[in-house]
Symmetry: D2
Subunit: 359 residues, 4 copies
């Protein structure tokens, strides 16, 4: 199950310490102009080494477009994006060949497959998400043509939380700090916490918020293909993700219906809501308001401090982190959340073309 999507479908491959990782996009409509610099800029937002609060592995994440493009435009055939691995230090992992890191995929991959590429986490490495970001960049190019924009940011790191909502934040500030929080004061606090945690050889979790604006009403499929169910599946498919909520989310459970409900005619004759407790989706189908959701990420499993673990032989072992790892995934998760959201929206935008048929 390394494919995602229905009509705009991606297939991902590759390991952290092999020749590289990549993605095939099948189903992108033809004639879409491909902005290579935009794809690279999206990859740059995810790449390691971009600031001193993320992993220092040196990867340029320069991509190669190997098929599906002719004279700068998509041809409707599969688009292959390949991202070579440049800085894999497999010897860092040599002594971990028989060890299962705690709370990591090491043990479960072993149980499932009976074999695993232990170098850098192999297939379970978050490096795999680079392909998703590249594919998501193409999805964003498609969505832009219809005025749909996707913006994510860091809302929480550990206990430091941006209390105000996205509608009261200046989203233009997101890329102005390494944490990707649209409030420079909070960003400074979050950054300080990440540095402190890193100094302790430890890691910390966080929350990413995401807003999809410009989405017309009518995207989404009833019953099992609800738009928010597809978004949830996309988000929970990101490494270290532990939770998803949209609109009023978990807080909404304490509300009364009379307080939560919301619909009205605006002055210009459009059907809108005032509170957007629905998060832009009702009955699984977009209602034309902003779609927004929150995604929880746990602290990265690989820490630098010594900890107890086990090996294949049934012995307790002490390990300390080798390799280069993020003290907090959230800053680099922001573009991944956006990419997965873009993949869902591009897919549902194509599915909704069937709605344009009127008998």
């Amino acid at each position: 199950m390394n494919s995602f999507g229905n009509l705009f479908k991606i297939t991902s491959y590759g390991e952290s310490h092999g020749p590289g990782i990549g993605v095939i996009i099948d189903g992108c409509p033809s004639g879409l102009a491909i902005d290579m610099e935009f794809i690279q800029s999206e990859l740059d937002r995810r790449k390691p080494g971009q600031s001193n609060i993320v992993t220092q592995r040196k990867e340029s994440d320069s991509f190669k477009l190997l098929s599906g493009i002719f004279e700068g435009k998509t041809t409707g055939t599969p688009i292959h994006i390949f991202i070579p691995n440049e800085d894999a230090n497999s010897k860092d992992y040599a002594e971990w060949e028989d060890i299962f890191r705690p709370s990591h995929a090491d043990f479960t991959y072993w149980e499932k497959y009976g074999i695993r590429d232990h170098r850098g986490g192999g297939r379970s490495s978050a490096r795999e998400t680079a392909g998703r970001v590249a594919a998501g960049a193409i999805a964003k190019l498609l969505l832009r043509q219809s005025g749909i924009n996707i913006t994510a940011y860091t809302e929480q790191v550990g206990n430091i939380k941006l209390e105000k909502g996205y509608e009261n934040s200046d989203l233009s500030l997101i890329e102005s700090n390494p944490v990707r929080c649209p409030d420079n004061e909070k960003a400074t606090e979050m950054e300080a916490l990440i540095r402190e945690v890193r100094k302790e050889g430890d890691t910390i979790g966080g929350v990413v918020a995401c807003i999809i604006s410009g989405c017309p009403a009518g995207l989404g499929e009833p019953v099992f293909g609800k738009l928010h169910a597809a978004l949830a599946s996309a988000m929970l498919g990101i490494n270290a993700c532990k939770g998803f909520e949209y609109g009023s989310g978990f807080d909404g459970v304490a509300k009364r219906g009379s307080e939560h409900n919301d619909i009205y005619y605006s002055e210009n004759g459009k059907i809108l809501t005032k509170t957007n407790h629905s998060g832009g989706i009702q009955g699984g189908i977009s209602n034309g308001m902003d779609i927004y959701f929150r995604v929880a990420f746990k602290p990265v499993a690989t820490i630098m401090r010594e900890q107890e673990t086990v090996n294949k032989a049934g012995e307790s072992k002490k390990i300390s982190g080798k390799g280069r790892h993020d003290p907090c995934v959230v800053p680099r998760a922001v573009p991944i959340v956006e990419a997965m959201a873009a993949l869902v929206l591009a897919d549902y935008w194509l599915l909704a073309k069937i709605n344009d048929i009127h008998f």
Copy 2:
């Protein structure tokens, strides 16, 4: 997108006020003994009118097994379960033909399809979930053969929350109260709140917790088919669901890696965890511990109090609820959460059969 699953796949059909609703199961292995009373008992846990804190629509939800069973056992061919509608009062809805109820699927279905069966919500009615519960009962029968059990309960109604975890609760109490909370004191409080809310013509949300025990390590697919991503998609596909978290969930974001990480060898030589912050899943694959997750439900959109809304003609309208509705979905959501979890687990249990192949 009215189908769900890969190898154990269901297809759902039917509307609230048509002849009935139903489900086809395709992919159930042959030779499974079908316990008709068990299927009915599961439907009874979901059916309307079961207590005085739920909707009073009178449906026996007696099901008919129309294919796929021979001499009491599955034949490997599609199983069709049909549940007739017995108590649809379509005239309750006559005056709502042109009205969009606030925060309901009325408006979005209209935007998407340009036509809708407005009677009782049509396809968007939670009545559709009866088919899922019946299919889930068969999935449970399959899983039981492998010792996998699924138990859900009401953890929160409005602000009343069961603070202790499932491991400290007496799960045998769940069915002893109409709220389905494994603590009779809390249940009484929750029940009182639901009565109060109903008296006000209002509705309230809640949280359902779910535990899957006996699941072996190795279920789940890497990258896009992570076991928790499938569970999230299943839960967000239930009407009124607003959020999903597993293991440490949203609370886990404030934890340090050193605190969150967890693995050890037990005395009897099994690899276990102490805290189960991972919620039984690591890297998208089950690790043999209990799987547990929480699901948030918003207050039901249809309330009895008068509220402002809009109609197709672009006029503001006042409506009061007609029909019979739940003041709180959570008590009846418990068996639906279990059913959807069972469908995911049965599917992944079959997918994991490929893991048994060893070259």
Copy 3:
């Protein structure tokens, strides 16, 4: 694998001697007017007992539309069509419980599932195709809106073959004889052969030809979703089908490229072909010419004459046909071929909506 199609998708269920058989259509666009008489007339073309050269089982094949239709139009939600079994004589099959009929699915179902509903062939009965015909009727209604028409006829029974092609035949004659051959002289010969074969307690095969006219250029998907590959899969999915060819087919292998190739500009500025050796499809995509193909059916396995066979206990057995069976499937296969072709075309017509997107 009881589902077929991508966007216009059907799921089939039911056995020959259970309560009935049926089909769910998922993905039919909304607003399509449903002509109930047309659906019944299509079922009547397939139903048993329609003439004295087909099986005499008495089934009215009256269908019930159980979901997805509101005020005579499709709503975009799943359409369920149920066709009850009315004349199942299960006692005819009692003594066959342990017997495998030669060249029948009896033995292979047993090998695969270890259990089987032996009554009337259970799931392997051609009665299952009634659901496909009903679904195909709805697909035809959709295609008609775009001017696409599908016509099949009997081209060959045993060695009696209509040598002239469809372009030289009067297709209005097809329904004027029970064999469904557009040449009454040949039809009389074919009918005589079928009667003779039936008198001998035997069966005979035949060939059905099918023409799809009015199909615009651009339907079909490259590589694995070629339009002719989908048609082949659809046809080989019909019981007793042994072969498929389109355009020049098997005869084309002896042609030279210079003779086979064909394209020109017509006087009214359209790109056409003269010979249509391509059968309306080039590179897997329709080219705007008539699509035509031929489908081979073997003689029905169940014969009335005594023959040698085996039972589960490992004994050789003699059996003679019980039940009521067709001496030749071809006359009733004509509407089934049309229905499966309609399902493929409706699906690909929806898929091609993506082609209408031009960036």
Copy 4:
């Protein structure tokens, strides 16, 4: 639709004149030893320039394994095989940018996508099948472990046909001649015909026969997933394929049921057939006998002789073939037929693992 398969699934990408073509295999079980030389030898059977009766494009078809393998074994994660293009002469195609070759995908791709990579046929080039052959080699390695073997050969070129069946042929001779016919006398005739056709600047079609031996009973899915329907879809998905038949095929239509039917107990207690008119498949499920089928290929559309065609501007044009092309696809189609058959069988072998579950 550039993916094929259910559990053993491939995704294909690439164009004739881009950087290369390739394939991702998703779903191959772990622990399978990968024989690199075998994969290369399969590619060598398909590669251009292998003899003087095929295209003289110079491609080594050396492949790169970029993921999914660790220490010589599959890990259960996606396997990526990349085959660079080494000898693409795009200038051969410069003057064809606006021309549609007759009976080629040029026109239909243009109609569908409104843009096309005209160089060497772009995505519609048969070069794309190299990836399938590489993936098919891995499928063969998997099937060998279960004793399933797949052998195809040239049965017919133009009017020259090998009349004897595979059971009377010495299949060890297939690779002893460039035509891949298991009869050296016929092979010489076929080769002479191909040379003659090539001298005339023309092309010719042919038939490939394929035998699958060692397949156990029980592979195949009822109704829409019949094993022969999957094989038909696979074969019709090969460029230039016009027809498919299995077992008695089109010839079977003239047989009586009493003559066609066949089942018996062998002396060693196995259920077998004498004639194998069923072609190893009954009711869509393998019966344990050899599976055999025949595949028709038309003459290649690109010929060297001058012929009439049209261009985008609506003018009639004369063209003569440029580039390097096969006078007859059949010799190189043999390994492609085997590869597609292997992909189907590997997929169905995995699907049939569900049958091993016995409740």
